[in-house]
Amino acid sequence: MASMLIRGGRVVDPDQGIDRVDDLLIQDGQIVAIGQSGSQPLGKVDETLDASGLIVTPGLIDMHVHLREPGREEDETIESGTRAALAGGFTSVACIPNTEPPTDTQANVEFIRQKAARADTCNVFVVGCVSRDRAGKELAEIGQLVEAGAVAFSDDGSPVYDAELMRRAFEYCRMFDKAILAHEEVLELSRGGVMHEGQVSMALGLKGMPAAAEEVMIGRDIALAEVTGGRLHVMHVSTAHGVELIRQAKRRGVQVTAEACPHHFTLTDESLRGFDSNFKMSPPLRTAADVEGIINGLVDGTIDCIATDHAPHAPEKKLLELDRAPFGILGLETAVGLCVTRLIDAGHIDWLRFVDAISRLPAQILGVNRGTLRPGAVADVTLIDPSLQWQVDVSTFASKSINSPFDGWTLKGRAVATIVAGRVKYRLPR
């Protein structure tokens, strides 16, 4: 098979502690070497990519993506969603099982994997349901799902409401060393809510979802992970106090990890003043203090990962009254730009930490052999232009949906090439 030399880029690989301008050699879909010495057989390389001025990273991994298929192909399909991933610089996504039917059987896992193989785009890692039919009553056949290839378990979209079932899930998943990805929400506190409960919701007369609705459930699940020794991964943390709960739990040695979404470190509940449903998601946009808390959590590592919670909804569904419009926004194609603009350029984190949060740690939490540029690893590589200014235009998105609140924003930083297993799967059109 072919060989490829990515020449002269700034190679950032936290797994090896590398951040230097160097060459990267790929052969037969694997990383062969980093460095001038490794790129010896220069004469024989089939393809050379000039990466000068670009960042070269292990392929980005979004561990929280709703591909919608099967069941809601009008919003997104496995093919369109993975194309959006490639355009955003992601070589892998983990797809969340709240499809119709939910991913709670081997056959459903197999369906997704076959569709993904046929799409031949990026890697799709399948997250299985915690509970049968995602109904929160009894455990799904977790062992069978693992055999079929599920990498983690989640009832996301809903919390696992029964505390005993959650406890059993933690205990049972230990056998397979799989994490439970938890959507944290006390429904009695948030029901009917469309935005964060606070000063803005009060003035607008919109039903709020208090921060406590998320924090109480984070607290419960930390306690359950602690008592069972299970692995908790807190999805889309949105409150400063939620971050603090996770920080304390980590100090005690609880097996807890966490992710934050770009919108939660970029926007606040003030955005709802225009009543635009593209600012409606769950958990909701919080306050400026919460944004600060999330950023601090990303800086000190309390929040391990950045994930997008890419949640496409067809335009006619979002163009409804605010309480009827569904929760969720697109994330895949704006994530890199928002991270560079809001985190790296703003001086909060460096490139090593960014790649750690969006490649190495997601791979580690999901237990998949990605997120590194070590020789021998699968050659998933992303090339990012860190200084490219671009304007978000949803009409150019690969996603089937357009529900991004960032439409029209000018961002800095964008993936210019996405390489999966040594093949260039996406190139930013010039």
């Binding site: 029901r191 009917g192 606070g198 000063q199 009060m202 003035a203 607008l204 007369g205 919109l206 225009g274 009543f275 006619e316 163009l319 409804l320 009254e321 605010l322 309480d323 009827r324």
Partner: protein, 340 residues
């Protein structure tokens, strides 16, 4: 007979058709977006309308040829009737549109419904909806005037205006007055519209009710928050008694109606401890025995029925300012067209 009554004199300029100058908004969505001058303009126009129609009982044809649609997604008797009558008093055609008997029940989105109505050449939509922001969404998709007749707990600008007009009629300038809003602040669009309108006009606002209905966070909007009606009672010039909106709540915000009435109902005993000329408002529908006892609702200090008449006057003013400005600009555009 050549003798003219002052009323007829006031009515004469109205026949010309174009509304008082100074109004620049296409829609009326909430009072938050208006200046004190604009609020006063609406109130003054309402007074003009009230006088010209001899207390809202006669017709003036300033909006002849205009069409107004009432688009009500929530039940309403008085507001819908009031808007209909106000439009008819100004000579406009009125179409009542009920969400339950329309294509909306066949799955059409309300924006498509509204665009269809617009295509029929209407001038304004009066919209009531259970969800905050729906009139704003409509306004961003339509070219016609959108008047918010209540969007969930968010805003009910004409209610705020009619409350303020009723106070102004009885007590004069709002500046320096202390107005207590008592009851279900959390779910009340009337409360929010009163807060914006009153504070812009220089009144002091006190919100009063149990902490489950009156959050401390309201203080950041520059109003006072109290949970003790008896403590604030002697300082109030006006009390606006808001209905408990049981229909908007999942769990009861207080143990029983009996306990609520004990703590917050305006009754004879409390009336005795209030200022002599205390004015009492209630947006209605009122729950006698919950927020106000029957004898107080009917006492001379109660402006409850004046509010209803002033509601008509305010809605005439708003319709006139929004549709009148629209038709005159259209007329002048048409005229320009002819010249060119």
């Amino acid at each position: 007979m050549t003798m003219q009554t002052p009323l007829a004199a006031a009515a004469r300029p109205l026949q010309a058709g174009s509304p008082p100058a100074g109004w620049s908004h296409q829609h009326l969505l909430d009072l938050e977006e208006l200046t004190a001058e604009e609020i006063t303009l609406i109130l003054d126009t309402a007074v003009l309308c009230k006088e010209a129609t001899e207390g809202c009982r006669r017709k003036i044809d300033v909006l002849a040829g205009s069409a107004v649609v009432n688009l009500f997604f929530e039940n309403s008797t008085r507001t819908k009737t009031s808007f209909s009558l106000a439009a008819r008093r100004l000579g406009a055609d009125v179409i009542d549109f009920s969400a339950s008997t329309s294509s909306l029940s066949k799955g059409e989105s309300f924006i498509d419904t509204a665009k269809n109505l617009q295509a029929m050449g209407i001038d304004a939509v009066v919209v009531r909806h259970g969800t905050p922001g729906t009139p704003h969404l409509l306004a961003s998709h339509l070219n016609v005037g959108v008047i918010n007749a209540g969007d969930g707990p968010h805003a009910h600008p004409t209610q705020g205006l009619l409350d303020i007009l009723s106070i102004r009629e009885r007590l004069g300038d709002l500046k320096g007055l202390t107005v207590g809003l008592v009851g279900d602040i959390a779910h009340s669009r009337t409360a929010r519209s009163n807060i914006w309108g009153l504070t812009k006009l220089g009144a002091k606002v006190i919100l009063c009710g149990p902490p489950t209905l009156v959050a401390d966070g309201w203080r950041e909007l520059g109003v006072e928050v109290s949970h003790d009606l008896d403590a604030i009672l002697p300082r109030c010039d006006v009390l606006n008694l808001l209905r408990i909106q049981f229909e908007r709540q999942h769990t009861r915000p207080f143990p029983s109606v009996r306990e609520y009435a004990h703590l917050y109902a305006m009754n004879r005993d409390r009336l005795r401890r209030a200022k002599k000329d205390l004015v009492i408002l209630a947006p209605g529908p009122i729950n006698r025995g919950v927020e106000v006892t029957a004898d107080v609702a009917d006492c001379p200090q109660s402006l409850i029925l004046d509010q209803v008449t002033n509601g008509l006057a305010v809605r005439m003013a708003v319709l006139w300012l929004i549709c009148g400005g629209r038709s005159s600009t259209q007329a002048s555009k048409a005229a320009e067209g002819r010249i060119v």
